[in-house]
Amino acid sequence: MLNFIDTVGEAVAGIQDGSTVMIGGFGNAGQPFELIDALMECGAKDLTVVNNNAGQGDQGLALLIKEGRVRKMICSFPRQSDSWHFDAKFHAGEIELELVPQGNLAERIRAAGAGIGGFFTPTGYGTTLAEGKETRFLDGKWQVFETPIHADVALIKALKADRKGNLVYRKTARNFGPIMAAAAKHTVVQVSEIVPTGSLDPENVVTPGIYVNTVVRVGGLDTEKVA
């Protein structure tokens, strides 16, 4: 079921305490700041958050962590020069960290959306991040068994959606959007522009609307009304 909603608050209203939430973005590119702010407002807590990082500066995911809403982070690169809110929670023992090599993170998210029960990958073999995991010698190299990462909700950002929920992204802001959209039970997308159905070239659609549940326009243009 696809819904077009007017405010980011309504778009995230269904997120429950204890949910696993995937948040798109790599650095600031593709990060759905307005949806994260709305998640903060809605008060959901005890969250498991899947993101490449663990918040930067004093905005978005960093604030969610600061306010103690996040029980666990699943990410590849939590430590940055401006990740002070995560650093403080981590050193205080108030947040759990599952550290995943970036490509394994992406593939585990992809696997969830693609119905794959797990996969063997050479990445991480022989390192502390593979400890306790099943290994096999396959295809000429040692490989480590990794499992899918599912989510209750994905919050992502795209450039445009049509009324079928088809999405196109912009440059490197695409990053985790397409795979998170597929991996979550409920996908909420913030876009800069909602365009009439038929105006996106089907050859250029990156995320087909089947993966999208809620679309909210943030800033940008309403080309339907302009037209």
Partner: protein, 222 residues
């Protein structure tokens, strides 16, 4: 005497830029390359148009151009170090799973990485010092180390206190096993592999002087 010093190709140790220039020169024309964050990024300054190198950035792009300046800066166009960059004609964008499939699938010819340590058999340690209070952060380091056909490391040969970073076995936590094929340092270039470590050339010192500094048996380039 002449055979002992024949592989010395510079009278002085190489600076960071000279080393970057050397790495750039060693990249075969037409290669697809990923340059790691930090010192490896300098290599891009010395790639020539004739080399026709395509740069990959793991956040989801092939055909990355130089750092963006002024009006070129676009928050949606960044590299893996989160620095604004530009796109070259023929660039392409893809999502994260595709980007790491490019890496893991062996499609990249070379990746250039920094390192804390490299072992005699090409094990790489570059993601974590192992300090108990350090917050671990791995990013794409393990994927890069595992996936590219050739993994070049750029580092100083010695730590600040004079210990060799080329070691018999890494004491820092590993990033990848047996993955490094070449080590470019200020004092020498080493070729690493299952047969041990060969010194390809030295800078500002002899093979014997390098052997004194490195605690494992080195071979001379033939």
């Amino acid at each position: 005497m002449s055979t002992e010093t024949s592989i010395q190709t510079s009278a002085k140790p190489l600076g960071r830029d000279e080393l970057a220039q050397l790495v750039a020169r060693d990249i075969a024309p037409g290669s697809f390359v990923n340059l790691g964050i930090g010192q490896p990024t300098l290599v891009s300054n010395y790639l020539t148009e004739e080399q026709n190198i395509t740069l990959h950035t793991e956040n989801g792009m092939l055909g990355m151009g130089p750092a963006a300046e002024g009006e070129e800066i676009d928050g949606d166009l960044i590299n893996a170090g989160k620095i604004p960059v530009t796109e070259l004609p023929g660039a392409s964008y893809f999502h994260h799973a595709d980007s790491f499939a490019i890496m893991r699938g062996g499609h990249l010819d070379i990746c250039v990485l920094g390192a804390f340590q490299v072992s005699a058999t090409g094990d790489l340690a570059n993601w974590h010092t192992g300090a108990p209070d350090a917050i671990p952060a791995v990013g794409g380091a393990m994927d890069l180390a595992t996936g590219a056909k050739d993994v070049f490391v750029m580092m100083t040969l010695l730590t600040r206190d004079g210990t060799s970073k080329l070691v018999e076995a890494c004491t820092y936590p590993l990033t990848g096993v047996g993955c490094v094929t070449r080590v470019y340092t200020d004092k020498a270039v080493f070729l690493t592999g299952p047969d041990g470590v060969t010194v390809r050339e030295t800078f500002g010192c002899s093979f014997e002087e390098i052997q004194e500094l490195v605690p494992l048996a080195l071979k001379r380039a033939e």
